[in-house]
């Protein structure tokens, strides 16, 4: 399978490794993490669903970027990934 350069990132304080060509979603999944946020109402776990940017189930916060679709966002070295909703657009 595809080989890309290793990229280090964190998810809620865990240090993880993905590779160039990963999206944030694929890097989380490759690390065995299949859900990375909880829904606002029912608190149900969510990860990817449509995989192509349509459903917005896969939202994460990355540093200052809020509610980003993890399945569309290329993974970058040093990304600090957190469950979506941990910071509001109005600031922490």
């Amino acid at each position: 399978m595809a080989e890309g350069q290793a990229l280090r990132f964190t998810f809620s304080d865990r240090v993880l490794v993905g590779r160039a060509g990963d999206t944030v979603a694929s890097a989380l999944i490759a690390n065995g993490i299949r859900s990375w946020r909880r829904t606002r109402r029912g608190g149900r776990p969510r990860g990817i669903y449509c995989g192509i940017g349509t459903c917005f189930d896969c939202l994460v916060d990355i540093g200052e970027e809020v509610a980003v679709r993890a399945c569309l966002r290329p993974l970058q070295e040093g990304d600090r990934v957190a469950p979506s909703g941990s910071v509001g657009p109005a600031g922490p």
Partner: protein, 390 residues
């Protein structure tokens, strides 16, 4: 044609106003039938913001009606069979400079004289009340009585209560026309046949002008389009209904071109609603992103943080506007048996319960709690001398 007797009263329109009328008339002991060509809240009541405001009313008859209605909404909140998200979140009318603050203060004084609760806030208090507001605002008037609700749920709740009180719902049925019956009452022709009743209440919102014409009358109701931007859900960022002091000016600005004023508020689901525009463009629903741009620019002046917040969708609706910005409530001057409950423009949600209370009192011949005179449809009738007989 006489039409079979369907009910004591037929209410045309199952929007908030029609639903309130149905409940009030049923509870007054009438046999009621509600007709709507779509579903519950199939018109403007599904396309507004759901504010129950006293802050935006000039001191006068509409404010008296609004204060009465505000009380009635509280009562309905505790007895309707459905939670419709009624919340007294309070309104903030903000001013950018001393001149605007003077106008805001002036209106507040006159409203207070009629019993409105209102408090002045300086820049420091304002920043504490609403921390994400732009820092350069001059102050605000705070109206604790201003409330909001979810109009579609409210309509469904009212209809469910009316149903329990014996009212009949006929949805998916269009009223096409009708005439006064000899003797008393009216017959109306619908897509489901001819119906007959002792009285007909025209609560067809922005379409009430057409409905009136079909029933042999005229009332001067015109659609006034308004558009709303809806954002992504946020953690609590805006606590009150916040609007610019020039909102009232936009309401009474009758130019058909665009009148805009920033109105920002959060809903219970976390999204923000951003309004408000007013245009006379008939029933034209073509998307107009120029209006959205204007709404966004004004909202950013109030809340700069919104710049990064995403809009998910927009919707627009047609307010039922009357020429003097007062609702049209009461007996038709020309067609016996026909009553109107319409013309509320941008205040139909707030004014619906008191409107229904007036209608129920007038139809059953009891004394209404608010003077109905200023709202009478006969104010638009040609002067007596000009009326021709026959």
């Amino acid at each position: 044609m006489t039409g079979r007797h369907t009910a004591d009263v037929i209410v045309i329109g199952a929007g908030l106003v029609g639903a309130c009328c149905a409940l009030a008339l049923s509870e007054a002991g009438m046999e009621v039938c509600v007709v709507d060509r779509r579903g519950p809240a199939g018109g403007t009541s599904a396309a507004g913001e759901g504010n129950v405001l006293v802050s935006d009313k000039l001191a006068g008859p509409e404010l008296a009606l609004a204060l009465r209605s505000r009380r009635l909404w509280d009562e309905l909140g505790s007895r309707l069979p459905l939670d419709f998200e009624l919340e007294a979140k309070g309104g903030l009318v903000v001013g950018r400079d001393e001149e605007e603050m003077a106008a805001i203060g002036d209106l507040a004084d006159r409203q207070a004289a009629m019993g409105v609760e209102v408090e002045r806030l300086g820049p420091g208090d304002l920043a504490r009340a609403e921390p994400l507001l732009a820092p350069d605002l001059a102050g605000a008037a705070y109206y604790p009585q201003d409330a909001c609700l979810q109009p579609m749920l409210a309509t469904a709740g009212l209809l469910a209560a009316a149903d329990r009180a014996g009212a009949r719902l006929m949805l998916g049925i269009e009223a096409a026309g009708g005439t006064a019956r000899s003797g008393a009452g009216m017959t109306i022709s619908t897509s489901a046949g001819v119906l007959g009743a002792g009285a007909v209440v025209n609560a067809a919102g922005p379409w009430s002008g057409e409905v009136a014409r079909g029933l042999g009358s005229t009332i001067p109701v015109k659609p006034r389009r308004g558009s709303i931007l809806v954002t992504e859900p946020l953690p609590l960022a805006v606590r009150h209904k916040v609007y610019e002091g020039d909102y009232v000016a936009a309401v009474v600005d009758d130019a058909s071109s665009l009148a805009c004023s920033a109105v920002v508020e959060a809903t219970r689901s976390g999204t923000l609603l951003i309004g408000s525009s007013r245009q006379f463009v008939g029933f034209d629903a073509t998307p107009d992103v120029g209006v959205l741009g204007e709404l966004a620019r004004r909202a950013l002046r109030l809340f700069p943080f919104l710049s990064r917040v995403r809009a998910l969708r927009t919707y627009s609706g047609f307010r039922p506007a009357s020429p003097d910005h007062l609702p049209i409530i009461g007996a038709d001057p020309a067609v016996p048996g026909l009553w109107h409950a319409t013309g509320h423009e941008g205040a139909g949600v707030g004014l619906a319960p008191a409107t229904a209370e007036l209608i129920a009192a007038l139809v059953t011949g009891t004394t209404p709690p608010v003077d109905p005179g200023p709202f009478s449809p006969s104010r638009f009738a040609p002067a007596p001398g000009a009326r021709c007989n026959g």
